[in-house]
């Protein structure tokens, strides 16, 4: 009797988990398949799930209708630029807060943490004004620089550096390495997995970012994939096939990154705070 009850409970639980999994997999599969459908098939009734009219036209159309190559390039510049600077800036700060004693350390650290409490959506209007006044509106710098320093990442790097033994630094100091050399050549390689977390989170965050590029990169030449595609979908004469192809292009690189770095995605998001 007990085991029957137990097995029924287990069965129900499994069915719930399975339904939730299908709720994720089915729509994404449908999107991937639809990117290869003819416009006719997409708009046909009844709708199809599997692709009957395989075509690559939609991808060609994305290049014709929206400057997708340019958008992808801008997204890559945004993601790589932000990430490269974010690793250096946030790791430097995290290192100092974890390993060094200095006057005003607590004040600076609390100031940094306090910025975590400032919601981006609340400061987006003045942030736009600041960037505009600095002459960075519709430039890569305007897109990248405000997104580099992130309190959550500093916090994550601080925790990573705090766990390292003191002997490492002391040995390097005896060897006559500069403070920068100790950080860059000795300490940073020790926290490799946290750096990878930061890289993956930063690439994912900027690649998918919608609101900030919409505000600061409104020029057609400056749009990223996420915002260029969003504005394309907002038009009246929308081509569905092209928008699906664009959506697939937007998801695919992150999907590949996820397959290889799932562990880092999960770890990073769990330790540096939730987004959205």
């Amino acid at each position: 009797m007990e085991t029957v009850k137990k097995n029924t409970a287990k069965g129900i639980a499994f069915i719930i988990l399975l339904i939730l999994a299908l709720l994720v997999v089915v729509p994404l599969t449908w999107l991937a398949l639809s990117a290869f459908k003819e416009e006719k098939e997409i708009l046909a009734y009844p709708p199809t799930f599997f692709t009957h009219s395989f075509t690559l036209k939609n991808f060609a159309n994305t290049a014709k209708r929206i400057k997708i190559i340019r958008y992808i390039m801008n997204s890559v510049i945004y993601a790589v630029g932000t990430t490269a600077l974010a690793v250096v800036v946030n790791a430097m700060a995290g290192y100092a807060y974890a390993r060094k004693k200095f006057l005003g350390k607590n004040v600076f650290f609390i100031l940094t943490l306090a910025t975590m409490m400032i919601p981006f959506q609340v400061i987006m209007v003045p942030l736009f004004l600041v960037v505009y006044k600095l002459g960075m509106y519709n430039t890569y710098w305007g897109l990248i620089i405000p997104r580099v320093a992130v309190a959550g990442s500093i916090f994550m790097m601080r925790a990573a550096f705090a766990g390292l033994p003191v002997e490492l630094e002391d040995a390097a100091r005896i060897d006559g390495l500069s403070e920068w050399g100790i950080f860059w050549r000795i300490m940073l390689p020790q926290v490799k997995s946290s750096v990878i977390c930061l890289i993956i989170l930063s690439i994912n965050g900027s690649w998918n970012d919608l609101l900030w590029p919409m505000i600061v990169a409104s020029d057609t030449k400056m749009r990223t994939l996420a915002n260029g595609l969003a504005l394309f979908v907002g038009q009246n004469s929308i081509q569905y096939g092209a928008s699906f192809a664009g959506a697939l292009i937007s998801i695919a690189p992150m999907f590949i990154l996820y397959i290889f770095g799932q562990k880092y995605f999960v770890e990073g998001m769990a330790s540096s705070g939730l987004k959205g």
């Binding site: 719930i16 988990l17 939730l20 999994a21 994720v24 994404l28 449908w30 999107l31 997409i42 009844p46 709708p47 800036v89 430097m92 700060a93 004693k101 200095f102 600076f108 940094t112 910025t115 919601p119 959506q121 609340v122 400061i123 987006m124 209007v125 003045p126 736009f128 004004l129 620089i145 405000p146 320093a149 309190a151 003191v166 630094e169 100091r173 005896i174 006559g176 403070e179 920068w180 950080f183 998918n208 919608l210 505000i215 996420a226 915002n227 595609l229 969003a230 979908v233 699906f244 959506a247 697939l248 937007s250 996820y258 995605f265 998001m269 769990a270 705070g273 939730l274 987004k275 959205g276």
Partner: protein, 324 residues
Amino acid sequence: MQVRGGCCLPSNIKTGAVMNNNVMDKGNIIYRIRKYLRSAEGSAYYFILPSIVLLIIFSIIPLIVSFYMAFFNANMTLDQVSFAGLDNFKQAFSDKRFLNSLKVTLIFTALEVPIQVLGAMAIAALISKNTYTNKLFRAIYFLPVICSATSIGIMWKMILHSNVGFFTYALQSMGLGKINFFNDTHLTIFVVAFISIWRSFGISAIVYVTAIQNVNNSLYEAAEMDGANKLEQFIHVTAPSIRPTFWYILMTRLAGSLQIFDIIFMTTDGGPNYTTESTVTYIYSRAFSSSASMGYASTMSVILFVIIMTVTVVLYRRMNAEEA
């Protein structure tokens, strides 16, 4: 010179030697500051400088500016700025569209947060053991988290399309009638909340899984000895042990929901008839449309900020009171 611990003797001797060579400069304050900045402790300022400068310019100054701007009227390029006093605040509290946007945001939050906080906890409890199937479920649930809101919006908009939507059709063939998911003044807010939950449910669940895995195993063993079944173990052992995670997810989710923008912008853009226009969506349209009014947008941002801070502080104090 500043020495870290007692183990840096050689470097100490070295600095001493340098000092002797520059005996003349000994009293020179600039020299001493430069010396300090090169030392192990003093160099910390170089290390934190970039982040502090960036955070001040791009977080703290904008926050101050938004409070300042709330009392002014200004256009997008700040060519025309005039003092408005409390006019913007008066306008906000009599602006039906703004009040409606607050209502929509609260409804959305009330729909999303309980499912994110409690639903994710329940699901996490089911997949916390490291079996092969559980790992697969976790990997799948996390998948939407890595997708852009743009793609998710494009996808759901078409799946739930009123005519050719795949899901709409499936429901219709089950005899549930043709449902107009994106153009129903009562239903659409639920659809938007669903898509938003669909998108980020995975993070909440995975964070809970990590917390549940860290619960001390001996607690379960003790509960099992007392004859507690799995459900009782969850209520009496797991739930109390992961309380910090519960608060963490509750607070971050609340703050996130109160700022909802992406998914709404990609699916309904506030429609139909403003029934899904959140506060941030409205702020965005007032700040960056053709009739841009930065001052008024700042005023609404400040009001939203006060709401978010109040909620966070109240919850934080409850948390501390309970944990104490």
